[in-house]
Amino acid sequence: MDVALLWTLPGLPLFGAIVLAIAGRRASPAFAASMAGGTALGALGVAIWTLAATLRGMGARLAVDLGTWFAAGPTRASAVLAADPLTASMAVMVAGVGFLILLFSAGYMDAPEDRPGSWRFYACMDLFLGSMLLLVLADDLLLLFVGWEGVGVCSWLLIGYWFQDPVHAAAARKAFVVNRVGDAALLLALALLVGALGPRATLRIPEMQAVLAEDPSLLAGSATAAGLLLLFAATGKSAQIPLYTWLPDAMVGPTPVSALIHAATMVTAGAWLLLRLHFVLALSPVALGAVAVVGAASALWAGLLAIFPHDLKRVLAYSTISQLGLLFLGIGVGAGTAAYFHLLTHAFFKALLFLAAGSVVHALHHQDVRRMGGLARRMPWTTAAFLVGFLAIVGFPGFSGFFSKDAVLFAALAARPTDIGAGTFPLPVLLCMVGFVAALLTALYMSRILFLVFFGRYRGEGRPRESRPVLVVPLLVLSALALFGGLLDLPAWIGVDSGWLTRAAGPHLGGTPPAHGGAVEAALGLGLALASLAVVAWAGRRWVDRQDSTDSVGSALPGTARFLAAGGRVDGMYDALVVRPLRGLARSGVARLEASGVQRAGRAAAALLEAAGAWNGRVLQRGPVQDYALGIALGAAFLLLLAAVS
């Protein structure tokens, strides 16, 4: 097979999206689902081939150049896709999880009112997969930006899939606008990088890395600014503080969308950007420290917020923010491999958790944990799958989350304060402790929904039944991945063949390979696991078979609990600080401009037009064609004269 095949990776899903968009309502749901699933499966096959090809010569790079997109002076934006073990493995993850979720969708989107429009759903999902693969494989930062915006648009389209409901439309708008804020930062960062590199400017990631490696002083003045802008851009897509508020609202979209876009893939785009541009971050300890602090803060804050919602998917959304926070923490402390490892395992177990939740939602037709309970007996397969996801995210020894979380936390512990711009302040230890607490919070909120949904007595109405195989099979495959995902990068203290991912993708992630900490790392991981189990046991006593889950967890601190249950009132704060001032400014400015300038000018212009029209009608438009011809001739003569004079 040829390297040019790389183009089919984003190309196949995009092709499917175009076909479905053209077919429109003519496409039956079965056709739409097979088209989307088939293209995803094809992309998965190509992705696996690509990964195998890159691994054959460990660290080999496949690149396919489709020519120059445009050139401006010395800077060229080229349409180049490139695969190394890092991007290829990410592509395999995206295509694989995408395929499983599309399979799930075929069973999920079967409500009678959804069936006629399902082509729109599958077209958007295909478009999303294509954009995401473009983002992952792009070798050129502008091409990456195309994918970046593409996934943003798909996110907007799919959150607002049921746009007839104003709440859904508002959530989609919010996601779109908040993401735009981050996108603006990304554009500024790119401009800054290109500007700072001056005559050696390039948009190709490897070339930029080479230029910066050769002469880091090129970016001397603006490394911190560039790093912080990249971080800000990443917080938009990856839903970190301060731009995370769109993600919980995004959960109104169809559950497969939440699983694919808002848990497993698109939200990792921000982290992916930072991973790809690690060499820019590495030039500025302050930016690295900011990434770590933002990550740790997001992990802790979202963990706190996740304890209270009654909406099953909202809890999972906050959990996503929290897990991505850990991932950012890993990037910030320079442990790119650990962060990437967590990105992969998180994609597996969070997609699994979302799909299991989707299976529940599909059976019950609502998302309120207060009207669930005891589903373990009624939906055994779904329960088993959710349990695997639960154990993975909580970090039960042996499950994937255990290894990746441990790797991130240990990397934080092992980092040197000076490397993240903290001077002598033991910031890394502090960050590690914050991450530890966030991990315990994970155990707390995940136990809460596990026990409220699957154990105790059923509190809803009707008799929910296990979902059909088309919904269950993807769950089982993802369960296997969530269970065995840890094998990708076993830590050294296990003692068997370890660190596969570190060897394959590590060289493309920069930083020093983490010094495997032996006993310390093992102790950290096992200690975290034990503490988590204690939390789970406590939560089990508290929440199994609670009629009213309105959460007496905060009964000791009712004010704090209400505050957190309201999402920390962050939306209100943003509204007061940003949205309303801007809107007020716009309104008053427009009103003043209207009154003074526009209306008066409008009246004057109208009067002038009226007079001109009357003169035109009376004098000019009398009908003889040759007068018109004379007008044309005079005009042409005038233009000719102008040309001759100039």
Partner: protein
């Protein structure tokens, strides 16, 4: 032997064009106006051929060919319009045709 040079060609082209403009502006018979339009088009084609010769570049002759094709299309549609007009108004005198009065 004296070569022609571009200037005479352009002068002839200009004079022809001006005669055409005069015809279009002055004549009242729609058919003659059409013929004058043809004169204008031919003036441009002549200029094109002259430029082609001056630059030793065949592109100008291709443009002249295109002018011819456009003229053919224009005449076909224009003359059917004339016939249509004559059928409904029984005249080809432009003075009588002031429907564009607005």
């Amino acid at each position: 032997m004296v070569s022609v040079g571009l200037l005479p060609v352009l002068v002839v082209s200009l004079l022809l064009f001006t005669i055409g403009v005069v015809g279009v502006l002055v004549r009242r018979n729609l058919l003659v106006v059409f013929m004058s339009l043809e004169l204008m088009l031919n003036a441009v084609a002549l200029a094109f051929v002259g430029f082609a010769r001056a630059r030793a570049d065949m592109d100008g002759q291709v443009a002249a060919l295109f002018v011819m094709a456009v003229a053919a299309a224009e005449v076909a549609v224009g003359l059917s319009l004339v016939i249509l007009l004559f059928r409904t108004r029984h005249t080809t005198q432009l003075d009588d045709l002031t429907m564009l009065k607005g």
